[in-house]
Symmetry: C2
Subunit: 199 residues, 2 copies
């Protein structure tokens, strides 16, 4: 059976849970702390050079890491990845944007405010400035669009939903971004949508 090393509070892990649910693949969940990471090398050192969750172990024992790479692997051949090469590339564009601009600001602000043992004030200030720029960028893009790419629900929407829908935890005011809010509601209304933290 597939094993998933994960954390229930992680949006990156939620992406993988959402894809596994979409594919109706059973898996064993192994919970790792995102605060005390001292056992990471022992537990997933051989499977993920970055020592992060999510780390997936396929049913034949082969490991795979990086939430967006795992999503793309699980989504291949489904309707969640467009077949058109340019639309595929646009999906990838948003996935890289998510990991470079979005997650390091919005997820880090959330982590610092909600979970960090000793919050880093400089990191909070930096990520809140960066996160507001990201939300404004998404709001501009989503104005007049239903989804991020090709007017349909894709893995790009799953990736960006992960931390956008809990941006309030990071001190962001989602009501300032109405096109983002309308898009969040469309993603949450997709058949088979699962929630973060079961809430």
């Amino acid at each position: 059976m597939i094993k998933l090393y994960e954390s229930q509070i992680s949006g990156n892990c939620w992406k993988v849970r959402q894809m596994l649910a979409h594919r109706e693949l059973p898996y064993e969940s192994i919970e790792l702390s995102v605060v005390d990471r001292s056992n990471r090398a022992d537990v997933i050192g051989g499977a993920n050079p970055a020592l992060r969750v999510p780390t997936l172990i396929l049913d034949d024992g082969r490991p795979l890491a990086e939430s967006n790479a795992i999503m793309l692997y699980l989504a291949e051949g489904t309707e969640l990845i467009p077949e058109d090469p340019y639309e595929r590339a646009q999906v990838l564009q948003w996935l890289f944007y998510e990991q470079y601009d979005h997650e390091p600001n919005i997820a880090v602000a959330r982590f610092q405010l909600m979970y960090a043992a000793e919050p880093d004030e400089a990191a909070i200030e930096r990520t809140q400035i960066g996160g507001r720029r990201v939300l404004a960028t998404m709001d501009d893009h989503l104005r007049g669009r239903t989804f991020l790419v090709a007017e349909r629900y894709t893995v790009a929407d799953i990736a960006l939903y992960a931390y956008t829908h809990v941006a309030g935890d990071g001190g962001f005011e989602l009501s300032d971004y109405p096109a983002v809010q309308a898009w969040l509601a469309r993603v949450a209304a997709q058949p088979g949508h699962i929630t973060l933290l079961g809430d």
Copy 2:
């Protein structure tokens, strides 16, 4: 003809130049400053929500952004992307690792030390710690391997080469990472390899 908004000093832009050279695709280069970004919204605002270089404009006028997404688009169907789904996923894993862990440390340290008008000491300290961790992770992975994935040269090697080979500019000592150094030499020896800054 393809247009590439780029900077000659950017490793992210080098990735795209390397792919265009590999595909033998002619293109028009439009140089943008990575220091004074005040004209970005006017020049590429409609093409790239993140307002960054590289931004590619295909010959039919459609835009594409994010260096690794552009590389994957240009590499599709070539030997630079494995056909095996798991090997493809491993390539993607390293591309996301590059944008999340590698570039924000090693490229940012280099930018701060080489190009920033007012270097940010806190950013330099943070990125040098992070960058040394990344180089150690790569060195562990590359020990006993010839390339990052599937024992062959792929877009993952191009992506990670971009800023690793100029890590010295960011204050990193590459001789501390012998497996990385040997891999850099293998990548540079690939047929059709082009250099950054023409050096």
